[in-house]
């Protein structure tokens, strides 16, 4: 870690339909090689925050800077920035008409302009890494939820992103498949991947998080290192929330 921010979020506001104030002045950052875990009750704005980081949602005001590029500036080439940001969704969102291999190679060819051979080589390595090399030629419908999510992680990793965003990657999974996905994420964290993870998997947070943010009602209520966070949170609301999800 060299102290420079890959993600720098400054005073971001986001309102939906003029009434739903999803983000009310959020500031946060993720340093290179750092793992930031975001927790908070449902509807607190976690997904919206992640989506603002890769421009899937436009901020109303405030600034998001990714590795030096202000993506909230008016003339930014958002496609170019997004190629540098991987995101893994709760619902996987694999392309159902493509095999696992094709899911991972598509953007490499279309966006990164890699040759078919090169893209497939990268893909096979990644599928090996996420533990499903034998599923390369299967369609998403032929894979379990855990396998699909691992393909989705490989698909994002194939772009060599500067940061990986995860939006509750295990909450749509059957319990017995959660570990296989978390293991892959832990490996990434150990390798020094910069990560911003929305998750209530406290085992993962303890093992991988450098810092934890607790959000409520569109604001960051508390932020701290993972040990401080679990052992001695400052705020009553944080304590209440933790006691709920820890048991």
């Amino acid at each position: 870690m060299n102290g420079e921010s890959v993600v720098q979020i400054t005073n971001v506001h986001k309102t939906f339909d003029n009434v739903v104030r999803a983000l009310r002045g959020v500031s946060a950052h993720v340093l290179r090689g750092e793992v930031l875990v975001v927790i908070g009750p449902s509807g607190s704005g976690k997904s919206t925050l992640l989506r603002c980081v890769n421009g899937l949602e436009k901020v109303d005001s405030g600034q998001v800077v990714i590795d030096g590029t202000d993506i909230t500036a008016p003339k930014v080439n958002i496609n170019k920035v997004r190629a540098e940001i991987g995101i893994v969704f709760q619902q996987f969102n694999l392309f159902p008409h493509l095999t696992a291999l094709e899911n991972v190679t598509l953007a490499q060819k279309v966006v990164r302009k890699r040759s078919k051979e090169e893209a497939e080589e990268v893909t096979r390595e990644l599928l090996e890494k996420v533990g499903i090399p034998e599923k390369a030629d299967n369609y998403p419908s032929q894979l379990s939820g855990g396998q699909q999510q691992r393909v989705a992680i490989a698909r994002a990793m194939a772009m060599n992103p500067k940061v990986m965003l995860f939006d509750e990657p295990t909450s749509a999974l059957d319990p017995e498949m959660i570990a296989e996905v978390l293991d892959v994420m832990l490996d990434l964290a150990k390798e020094g991947m910069t990560m911003m993870v929305v998750s209530h998997e406290m085992g993962f947070a303890r093992a991988a998080a450098d810092r934890i943010i607790f959000m409520d009602e569109g604001r960051i209520v508390e932020e701290g290192t993972s040990s401080k966070f679990f052992e001695n949170p400052d705020h009553q609301r944080t304590k209440k929330f933790l006691s709920k999800i820890l048991h």
């Binding site: 890769n54 899937l56 496609n79 170019k80 997004r82 190629a83 540098e84 940001i85 991987g86 995101i87 969704f89 619902q91 969102n93 694999l94 392309f95 159902p96 008409h97 598509l106 953007a107 279309v110 966006v111 369609y139 419908s141 698909r155 994002a156 772009m159």
Partner: protein, 291 residues
């Protein structure tokens, strides 16, 4: 009550085996096949039918050509308009919607007449004006070279077949636009988001992620519309295009043999739509089987 029940039961148990079998026979298809065999036989053996068939078969070619070309253009128009209907650009959206709403609100026959006798002549006038303008810009070689032919396009020379194709394509384009729009919108939002967050542009995401999935869903309605257009192409007889219906009318006027003429026309239309429907089904099955 009890008596009635007993009677029905009795009838059922006694007569059921072979009436049920009879009920399951697709009589309509059998009758259709018999008529088909009768007409085919007549075409081969009866002088009148044979003559009618030869006269109408030119029209079959024109009908097929008309339908295939018009539908191909309608697909392109429909796809482009469909994108317009989901566009964030309000100008594009409004132009596309105007076209769709107008076309869907008027009868196809009127559209064909309007295109043939209003739109095309106006377009030709426009071309003439543009041509003269270019010629008048100066004697310079290139401008005159382009301008001369434009200035001299004569409305008389624009074949009714072309006008009919243009009319059918515009008429069906509006419906295909709605088919494409619905197909694209039926693909869940997460697909576009996943593609865009990998760095693909909107059009790359469309091309590689959304359309391949949408095409599978729109194939059945497109297939239906193709068959429907084959039938609707009979309306261009109003433009005196020598397709099947027009030739049937001419044949009747020529021979006064209404019965044979229209039997043959019906037979030919049915043969075409049946073959097409089967083709569409096969294609659908192939596409959905490929996963």
């Amino acid at each position: 009550m009890a008596v009635g029940e007993a009677v029905t039961k009795k009838r059922k148990s006694k007569v059921a085996p072979w009436t049920q079998a009879l009920e399951r026979v697709p009589w309509w298809a059998l009758i259709l096949i018999l008529i088909g065999v009768y007409i085919s036989y007549s075409i081969l053996n009866s002088e009148t039918y044979h003559d009618t068939f030869l006269f109408l078969s030119e029209g079959v070619k024109t009908t097929i050509l008309l339908t295939v070309v018009s539908f191909a253009i309608a697909l392109v128009v429909g796809l482009i308009t469909g994108f317009g209907r989901i566009s964030d650009n309000i100008i594009v959206y409004n132009i596309a919607t105007f076209y769709v709403e107008v076309v869907r609100g008027i009868p196809l026959l009127i559209q064909l007449l309007y295109v043939a006798f209003v739109v095309v002549p106006l377009a030709v006038q426009g071309l003439n004006a543009a041509g003269s303008f270019l010629v008048n810009l100066g004697p310079a070689g290139f401008l005159a070279f382009v301008g001369e032919p434009l200035a001299n396009v004569n409305i008389q020379n624009v074949n009714m077949l072309y006008r009919a194709i243009f009319g059918l394509a515009l008429g069906y384009g509006a419906y295909e636009a709605e088919v494409f729009r619905a197909g694209i919108e039926s693909i869940e939002r997460g697909q576009m988001e996943a593609a865009r967050s990998l760095g693909m542009s909107y059009w790359q995401a469309m091309r590689y992620v959304i359309l391949p999935q949408a095409i599978r869903r729109v194939l059945p309605p497109l297939g239906n519309d193709f068959v429907a257009m084959l039938k609707d192409s009979s309306l261009v007889s109003a433009l005196a295009v020598r397709e099947l219906t027009q030739l049937a009318k001419l044949n009747r006027a020529r021979t006064f043999r209404s019965f044979e003429t229209y039997n043959t026309a019906v037979f030919l239309y049915l043969a075409m739509t049946l073959v097409l429907s089967i083709g569409v089904k096969v294609l659908e099955r192939r596409m959905s089987g490929g996963k």
